[in-house]
């Protein structure tokens, strides 16, 4: 498990990005729930932590794909593949993330870069 940040430092409506590879973001919804998903949109390289958080959904800041924070499912295109969800818990005021062991759905440009191809 990975420590993310202190709960008091993450206001409702905000997100905190963990700079791991691939990056993961913790979202604190307006209802006070915490969720962690892969930070990179599965459509193109964009940080979902910079997106529009509304209810239990985050909208990609670039092309408006929407992801369900609970399930990682795509709620609106152009993305077609879900993001991974990760387990979140709070202990002594600290937010921790337990990373999923599933393979991430990275956008074509990043997948190509990781494979050593041209982005």
């Amino acid at each position: 498990m990975i420590p993310a940040c202190r709960l008091v430092d993450l206001s409702r409506g905000e997100a905190h990005r963990l700079d791991i590879d691939p990056p993961v973001s913790v979202f604190h919804t307006d209802d006070g729930e915490l969720f962690a998903i892969d930070d990179t949109c599965t459509h193109q390289d964009a940080s979902l932590a910079d997106g529009w958080l509304e209810g239990c959904e985050v909208e990609c800041p670039l092309h408006a794909s929407k992801f369900n924070l609970k399930t990682g499912a795509v709620d609106a295109p152009p993305a077609k593949l879900p993001v991974r969800t990760h387990e979140v818990f709070v202990e002594d005021g600290m937010i921790y993330v337990r990373l999923s062991t599933a393979a991430p759905n990275l956008p074509p440009c990043i997948a190509a870069r990781l494979a050593g191809g041209v982005a």
């Binding site: 940080s47 152009p78 077609k80 074509p108």
Partner: protein, 382 residues
Amino acid sequence: MVGASLAGLSAARSLRKQGYDGRLVVIGDELHRPYDRPPLSKEFLAGGIGEADLALEPDDEDLQAEWLLGARAAGLDTTPRAVRLTDGREVRADGIVIATGASARTLPGMDGLSGVHTLRTLDDARALRDELARGGRLVVIGGGFIGAEVASTACALGLDVTIVEAAPTPLAGPLGATMGSIVSALHADHGVRLLCGVGVKGLSGETRVDAVLMEDGRSLPADIVVVGVGARPCVDWLAGSGVDIDDGVTCGADGRTSLAGVVAVGDCASWYDPRAGTHRRVEHWTGARERPDAAVAALLSWGESEPGVPRPPYFWSDQYGVKIQFAGYASRADSVTIEEGAAGDRNVLAVYRRAGHPVAVLGMNQPRLFMRWRKQLAANTS
């Protein structure tokens, strides 16, 4: 559903999501299943992604719809309510969603001259991509977003690129003159020539284009020409149907047309904009994605639903690796200020204001800050 692109697909999804479980027929004049158009001038044209990446439907999606692809609507009848197709077929319906989009404007004299392209459809993009791969001199007519994106892609592919724009400043309509000129300066940064304030007189060439002739007498040698001079709504097929047409299908703030049981969405629809107090045809991807929700609610409730306040219009463009984002209405502003970054660095967050209140925001490579302003804009104006 007349139209099988983003607006038509979004309307079909909205219908199912809002509980409609009856028969659903989607009519599309292209042979392709719904695909995403924005990459056609960018990653797809550059060869970075393929046709499978453009598909808008995930493999496991099933809307229980009947798809009539390669079928073109010829007319709309009201008693009984039906869509007539050019092949003589007729599709009867209790409700009709018009989502026929827009088609690229052309220039007189370009028909029959090879090497001259417009860019709207997947077939257009395939043809242009194949020509760009051969290299040469490209002249882009029109300095708007399509023209600018094609120029950016072609420049990266190594072509010699010139853009001609009839107006003194490109993008002055959507971005205002100040920011239009800052965004358009990207061309010169990358060695793309930009000629403004002079119109095109015609094209020269026997069977294949060899030059673009300018009104000031200049002749620009060209191996390939792309005409990016805007789009016109595909509404000719509605003539005589009783659906009110002006610039596109005239709609209320929820997409309802002048005919009961008929709504219109996407690029062909001119919705009433309560903020602007006028009808406005919005050609943005996000409008085609979001508005069908409201139109379908109106259709299913026979107009009894209360339309929500839409978010300020948002669009993006990618040029020369710079992410350009815009939300709101530039035309309403009386001032524009750069709040962050510097124009010279092509890294800018600019806020448009009217009487001191933000009415629009532009970002160049500022996605995080842009989102903060975009949300604020939505909160201020709702």
